[in-house]
């Protein structure tokens, strides 16, 4: 954490927790690069993430601030009557990333806000928005009986994440197997257990053999 970032934390009094990440360093673009990279963040804009990416890569970071709407998106995806409302919400929510193909998508806890059925929608969405070589990073649960507190995530360093506590818990406790089954166009490349029971994962598009 930079001294300036630490000072900002003290000023705002936000409670944070640090997590070691075994996978983030392997997927984030780093210098020197020959072309601009594109990173899509499903979470809220996070000061640490922006500071870290400004220091380490060039390209475009798109922030969707989507997890705050994830419950509503899940409800609308499940409601067959809500076609218009769903279309409007999705268009509004994803407008900043239309027409782009991303090298990295940071899902964070988004999958844990979608029902099993709606994870299929996420599969289609990633298929559309990820570049051919693109990867997505996120969390599922290691143990379905252990509750997972909602958090707001940021990237402090290549191997360190910062999590701010949010109220409540994530609504679904998907395990690795559910993700493998529902994100059928992708394969889990790696997964690592974290200290709070989350399973950090990286997925890539399946290659045809």
């Amino acid at each position: 954490m930079s001294p300036n970032h630490a000072a900002a934390k003290r000023q705002t009094g936000v409670s944070t927790e640090l997590f070691k990440s075994g996978l983030m360093g392997g997927i984030l673009p780093s210098a020197p690069q020959t072309r601009a990279q594109k990173v899509l963040d499903f979470g809220a804009a996070h000061a640490a993430t922006i500071a870290h990416l400004q220091a380490t890569f060039w390209g475009r970071l798109t922030v969707l601030d989507l997890i705050s709407q994830a419950d509503l998106i899940n409800a609308l995806l499940s409601d067959e009557e809500a076609v218009d409302q769903r279309a409007y919400l999705l268009e509004e929510s994803f407008e900043p990333c239309f027409g782009q193909a991303y090298d990295v998508v940071l899902l964070w806890d988004f999958a844990l806000y979608l029902s099993d059925e709606n994870l299929g929608w996420l599969n289609d969405w990633l298929d559309t928005m990820l570049s051919f070589q693109g990867v997505a990073h996120g969390f599922v649960c290691h143990n379905a009986t252990r509750s997972i507190a909602a958090k707001r995530w940021g990237i402090l360093a290549q191997d360190q994440l910062e999590a701010e506590s949010e109220s409540g818990q994530v609504p679904y406790r998907h395990l690795r197997g559910v993700l493998s089954r529902t994100l059928s166009d992708f394969e889990i490349e790696k997964s690592v257990l974290m200290k709070d029971g989350r399973l950090e994962f990286v997925i890539r598009r399946k290659t045809t053999r």
Binding site: A7, V14, A31, A44, A45, A55, T62, F94, P96, F98
Partner: protein, 160 residues
């Protein structure tokens, strides 16, 4: 289809809006080099200024401050594309921002749009949705710079 990007770039034609200005508004000089658009003022159209500008009211259209800073105050609502040296958002800003020095979104600030600036600083609790182009700090050009001396603490460089 929801992946179609809607066209939001059409600048509104200058329209007169009560109680104040319309068309191309040039902000006159004021003492201290900072012009203020008050909380009850609404402007539709283009705003040009050659001094720092604080907006506590509303602007719809575009704001051009080539060598100066725009401050969107706590009660300010700017729905406009902005070109400035620096931009500080304490209120609400919807639109694309191009700044030659920095963009700061404070804890009470809310912004939606795309940012192009060498430094972008978000205070914890601020709201941002959109894209940030990180070109000026391009490590590819400077080969392996990891530390970022340009990232400043929230509010440390606002001149306040």
């Amino acid at each position: 289809m929801f992946f179609d990007k809607r066209s939001q770039k059409n600048a509104p034609a200058p329209v007169v809006s009560e109680p104040v200005a319309s068309g191309v508004a040039s902000i006159p000089s004021s003492r201290g080099g900072v012009a203020v658009i008050g909380a009850t003022v609404k402007i539709k159209g283009e705003v040009h200024s050659e001094e720092d500008l604080t907006v506590e009211g509303q602007i719809e259209g575009s704001v051009i401050l080539k060598n100066n800073e725009l401050v969107v105050g706590a009660s300010g609502r700017v729905h406009a594309d902005v070109t400035a040296k620096a931009v500080k958002v304490d209120g609400e800003l919807h639109g694309d921002v191009e700044a030659t020095e920095r963009v700061l979104i404070t804890v009470n600030g809310s912004m939606r749009g795309n940012i192009q600036a060498p430094r972008v600083i978000l205070e914890d609790g601020s709201k941002f949705k959109g894209s940030i182009d990180m070109n000026e700090a391009a490590p590819a050009k400077t080969f392996g710079v990891v530390s970022n001396p340009k990232v400043a603490a929230s509010g440390d460089s606002t001149g306040e």
